[in-house]
């Protein structure tokens, strides 16, 4: 199953990590827009000044720091983790109640009034994005909304608006073009590949980096849309249903027919015997 939908005008983030200074204005802008509380932190949780220790119900985006040496060279680099707003999101595909929607504007939007808290989305997402409200008695799932309300009003998402250097926001085909231009103009500065162009079948968050993706902390993810994998199995279901089900039903009918025939034979014999007995007494 592949979508007939055109993704080229979807609102997309182009995140040029060679321009990111790890300032965390994006983390703060997200919390301010979504009115999320600050988490309790101590010291730092990871390399550099990284905080908090993971995305959560209170933290929809986070800068991961890398602070190490490679071949005697200093590396101090930053990676913004967030919902990838996939073209064909796995979360939407597995959700039994349809609580996720790939909106026409681009963001994958979560509708909490439908959620039953089953957490299939958390298992399905290859990026580990949806987070659970462990703090609540009736927990729902939380993740980046793509600032859909802002986008619908003609604004850009909060993080993209605040970022002074690294994030550009616009239609997907334009962001891909811009990304390609940058890779071409300064080839020595970039890994000659954008992350998110084809990952998971293509996403609305596209990254440019100087360091190899795995070194920065990106997950290695299949190029196929995740729903395609489940489709591999699911598409066989009707066939299996019909052949196996039909076959077993057929077998059952044959077995039952024998039974039925035997029963009928028994009944006939019994009836015959009864009649003979009646005739004998007369």
């Amino acid at each position: 199953m592949s979508s007939n939908r055109d993704f080229s005008r979807d609102g997309t983030f182009l995140i040029d990590l060679t321009k990111c200074t790890g300032c965390r204005a994006c983390q703060v802008a997200c919390k301010q827009w979504n009115q999320l509380p600050a988490e309790h932190t101590e010291f730092f949780s990871g390399e550099g000044y990284q905080n908090p220790s993971a995305m959560s119900e209170y933290t929809y985006t986070r800068i991961k720091f890398r602070d190490y040496q490679k071949n005697g060279q200093h590396e101090f680099a930053f990676y913004k983790e967030m919902c990838m707003h996939c073209n064909e999101p796995a979360c939407a595909s597995v959700c039994p109640v349809g609580a996720f929607e790939k909106t026409k504007e681009g963001p994958v939007f979560y509708k909490d009034n439908r959620c039953i808290g089953c957490r299939f989305c958390m298992i399905a997402c290859p990026f580990g994005v949806p987070k659970y409200e462990w703090s609540k008695a009736l927990p729902l799932v939380r993740k980046c909304t793509g600032c859909l309300e802002r986008v619908r009003e003609g604004l850009h998402p909060a993080c993209a608006t605040t970022c002074p250097t690294a994030i550009t926001y616009g239609p997907r085909d334009e962001m891909i073009e811009l990304g390609k231009k940058r890779l071409f103009k300064n080839p020595e500065r970039y890994v000659q590949k954008a992350y998110g162009y084809t990952e998971a079948g293509g996403t609305s968050v596209i990254y440019l980096t100087a360091l190899p993706f795995e070194e920065l902390g990106f997950k290695q993810v299949t190029k196929r849309a995740l729903p395609e994998y489940t489709w591999e199995a699911l598409r066989l279901v009707p066939g299996i249903f019909l052949t196996v089900g039909g076959g077993l039903s057929g077998l059952a009918w044959i077995t039952h027919r024998r039974e039925r025939l035997r029963e009928e034979l028994e009944k006939e014999r019994a009836a015959l015997a009864a009649e003979e007995e009646k005739e004998g007494r007369e």
Binding site: T21, Y68, P164
Partner: protein
């Protein structure tokens, strides 16, 4: 800044030394990245590999306090390799001037040094003067007593090898920096130096900046697009603050504060108005009498007349050094009854804060105006003291934030941008203008009845409307300046009360008043120029002349007459700042630094109009510690000075010390993007505390291993001033320095933490020393020595 933020995109090479703009000016850093997108190279020179270094093309490690050695070596490289812009140097600097035959330099000291009072008699630093009253020149630059040859001799001692021994830089990195930076000596190439507190907060801070001037002038990088010396100011309106005389030795517009021996206005003008006989020198400070008189008229209005010297007697006259360091010294001696603190937190931000705290205990009263309760305002609650033993009465005035009041904010690029009031301040909070206005009104009432010398207060012209708080537009209009009577200038008539169009119309006869001559033109009759938000940029150079207003007279790049050759043609026609239009006989482009024609024509003027000589000073006799920079070690240093036997700055009142114990490590203070200054605002904001919650100290992996310290563990840091504890952040971004045949480790401490507020931590400034630069008196926060112990203070 000589240039401005947006102009940085035009640089071919950017050197960030003593600054970390990706960290501390993350928004403006966009322009550095733009320069790099255009092919520009970023050089980061820093003791640590910082956020700025992570974006740089070249990183060079620098031992704290060795900037003069580093730059001295670049000056030497430029001179030896002749990478200089010769025509610029000969015509626009004092390279060709001859210096007094008695001038000498020997073993770290210039001629005229008095060891007894650790100061210089600079009479031997004067130019040789001809009979025409002009400095004698040798335009071939070959005369041994020419500034150019003196410079060559001075910096020939700064070979790359010697420099790297001092700075600890790897020589291949150093030569890479030298080649790259000095390549901009070529006409048509531009380099800019971006500097901040890492440059200034040293006992040689002033000479650090002087070294940048010399290098940039030799390369012809001042006055051109993408060039300049760009100071990154550390607060959004500190530029405005210094423009308006926050510093003790100035009056608004950087006029000199009168000293006790300037008995009257004539004596003041005589002392502080520079003179020159050079017809090609505009000598702009020769207008001093116009500016001081106009200022006095602004202060005392109609009470200031020709007869009473425009109330000059009312101005306080300083009799010494009233710098922050001296104030804190006097505070500790019980020399103040009271202290007023407007948005400042010395018990976290000053050096040697333990001593400052003891000084505060002596106060009878304190007034603190701030948005939050600062550590200084609750100094009596600090750990380890009994509040019962402190008799100070403290008044905390809640203050309005920048969005709760209107007014202008001047950025590093001298752009004054008007802010409107977005919301009312909460509760009882008020803007600073309200607070000061109330004080003046109450003082006037009190002094109307009694007082030893009430006149300066009673006669103070103070009328900013009848509203709850002063009408800021009225203040801004007064700072621009007005005519005090009907007058005719060059055929044009102005009426009393009209706004002065520019400082060219200010007078010394009392017909103009002006609160700040450099802001004259910011609020003319047409309206508030600082409020403009025009985005037109017809020249395409990013000048945006319709956006806000920059001083002086909306000029974006100062000294821009040096951006053209003697015929008025831009050195770089691709990136012109100004260019002479022979048809209109005017300059196209930026506001020219004087409308006079090019230097090849009659009636012209030299480009550096703020100097009496009209040209830029490679050799500058007016500073306390020397006419050219010389490397001295910081007050606390791991090594003896390799350049001479003069260990530390000779103009300081006590000598520096070399640590030979090997127990101490090189320490510096630093900042993070997530917190600001002493943390009074940012440590009260949960979203920022979440990012950086605790005081920490950065150290190398080697030092951590040596001491058995794990990442995140509590450690104690000790200096001669005191001890603090912090969490250890172990990182490969810090490396030890080669000092002689040893490796000496370094640590870096953010100074944002204090004992008060939701996020507490020990203050780095417990450790720093109360000693500063002999010219500016800015404390040496950036280079000192510390010991480190595993475990916290209670361990």
């Amino acid at each position: 800044m000589t240039n401005h933020w947006i102009d940085i995109q035009h640089a071919d090479v950017i050197m960030c030394i003593g600054s970390n703009p990706a960290e501390n000016h993350p928004i403006s850093f966009h322009w550095v990245e733009k320069a790099m997108d255009n092919g520009g190279k970023l050089i980061s020179v820093d003791p640590r590999y910082t956020r700025t270094s992570s974006k740089s093309d070249i990183y060079a490690q620098l031992r704290p306090g060795t900037d003069i050695a580093f730059i001295g070596g670049l000056i030497n490289y430029a001179l030896q390799n002749n990478s200089i812009h010769s025509e610029y140097v000969v015509n626009y600097t004092n390279a060709a001037f001859l210096v007094d035959e008695k001038f000498a330099f020997n073993d770290g000291l210039f001629s005229g040094y008095d060891r007894g009072n650790t100061s210089y008699d600079n009479s031997s630093w004067a130019y040789q003067m001809g009979k025409d009253g002009l400095p004698i020149r040798d335009n071939s630059l070959e005369h041994p007593q020419s500034v150019y040859q003196l410079l060559k001799r001075q910096y020939a001692r700064y070979t790359a090898e010697k420099v790297c021994e001092i700075t600890g830089t790897a020589i291949q990195d150093y030569l890479n920096v030298a080649r790259t930076f000095c390549s901009t000596g070529r006409v048509g190439k531009a380099a800019t130096i971006m500097y901040a507190m890492g440059t200034t907060q040293h006992t040689v801070g002033t000479q650090n900046v002087r070294s940048y001037s010399i290098l940039q002038l030799l390369l012809g990088n001042i006055g051109i697009a993408g060039g300049g010396i760009n100071a990154l100011r550390g607060e959004s309106n500190v530029q405005g603050s210094t423009d308006y005389a926050l510093l003790f030795d100035s009056l608004p517009g950087y006029l000199k504060c009168p000293t006790y021996d300037n008995r009257d206005l004539a004596a003041y003008n005589d002392k502080w108005t520079p003179k020159t006989k050079d017809p090609k020198s505009a000598n702009w400070w020769s207008n001093t009498p116009k500016y001081i008189t106009s200022l006095l008229k602004a202060y005392w209005g109609d009470a200031a007349t020709v007869e009473n010297d425009f109330c000059y007697d009312y101005l306080p006259k300083r009799s010494g050094n009233y710098s922050f360091l001296k104030l804190m010294e006097r505070l500790q001696g019980g020399g103040f009854e009271g202290l007023v603190l407007m948005g400042t937190n010395p018990i976290v931000g000053g050096p040697d804060v333990r001593s400052i705290a003891l000084g505060l205990d002596n106060l009878n009263w304190m007034v603190a105006a701030d948005l939050w309760e600062t550590e200084t305002s609750v100094f009596w609650k600090r750990p380890g003291v009994d509040p019962g033993k402190i008799d100070t009465e403290v008044f905390l005035l809640p203050a309005a934030s920048s969005v709760e009041k209107s007014g202008s904010i001047s950025n590093s690029g001298r752009w004054a941008q008007w802010r409107y009031k977005a919301v009312d301040p909460p509760g009882d909070a008020e803007g600073d203008a309200f607070i000061v206005d109330q004080w003046v009104k109450q003082l006037k009432k009190l002094y109307a009845k009694e007082g030893v010398f009430p006149d300066p207060i009673v006669d103070l012209a103070w009328d900013y409307g009848d509203g709850h708080e002063p009408d800021i537009d009225m203040v801004a209009r007064e700072c621009n300046g007005q005519f005090t009577r009907d007058i005719e200038i060059d055929g044009k008539t102005f009426k009393q009360g009209q706004q002065v169009p520019s400082f060219a119309s200010l007078k010394a006869d009392g017909s103009t008043l002006c609160g700040n001559w450099i802001y004259c033109g910011s609020y003319p009759e047409e309206g508030n120029m600082m409020q403009r938000r025009g985005t037109e940029d017809p020249g395409g150079m990013g000048s945006y002349h319709e956006w806000a207003w920059s001083w002086p007279v909306n000029r974006r790049i100062v000294y821009n007459r040096a951006s053209v050759d003697l015929n008025g043609r831009p050195w770089n026609p691709q990136k012109p700042v100004i260019s002479w239009n022979a048809i209109t006989r005017k300059w196209d482009g930026d506001v020219p630094d004087g409308a006079w024609p090019p230097m090849s024509e009659d009636g012209s003027r030299s480009p550096f109009i703020m100097n009496a000589e009209g040209i830029a000073r490679l050799f500058a006799a007016g500073l306390a510690d020397g006419p050219v920079p010389e490397h001295y070690e910081p007050m606390e240093s791991p090594m003896a000075n390799l350049m001479s036997n003069q260990q530390s700055n000779p103009a300081l009142d006590r000598p520096g010390r070399v640590d030979k114990s090997g127990l101490y490590y090189i320490a510096t203070t630093c900042r993070v993007s997530e917190h600001w200054q002493s943390g009074t605002m940012t440590r009260n904001l949960p979203w920022l505390v979440e990012l950086v919650p605790d005081m920490f100290v950065e150290m190398s992996e080697g030092l951590a291993k040596e001491k058995g310290i794990n990442d995140g563990e509590m450690v104690t840091i000790i200096s001669k001033r005191g001890s603090i504890q912090a969490r250890a952040l172990v990182t490969s971004r810090l490396k030890p320095f080669r000092v002689g045949d040893k490796l000496v480790e370094q640590i870096a401490l953010p100074w944002h933490f204090g004992f008060n507020g939701p996020a507490k931590g020990d203050s780095a400034n417990v450790l720093t020393e109360a000693i500063g630069d002999p010219n500016t008196h800015i404390p040496e926060y950036k280079a000192f020595m510390c010991n480190i112990k595993k475990g916290g203070l209670t361990a």
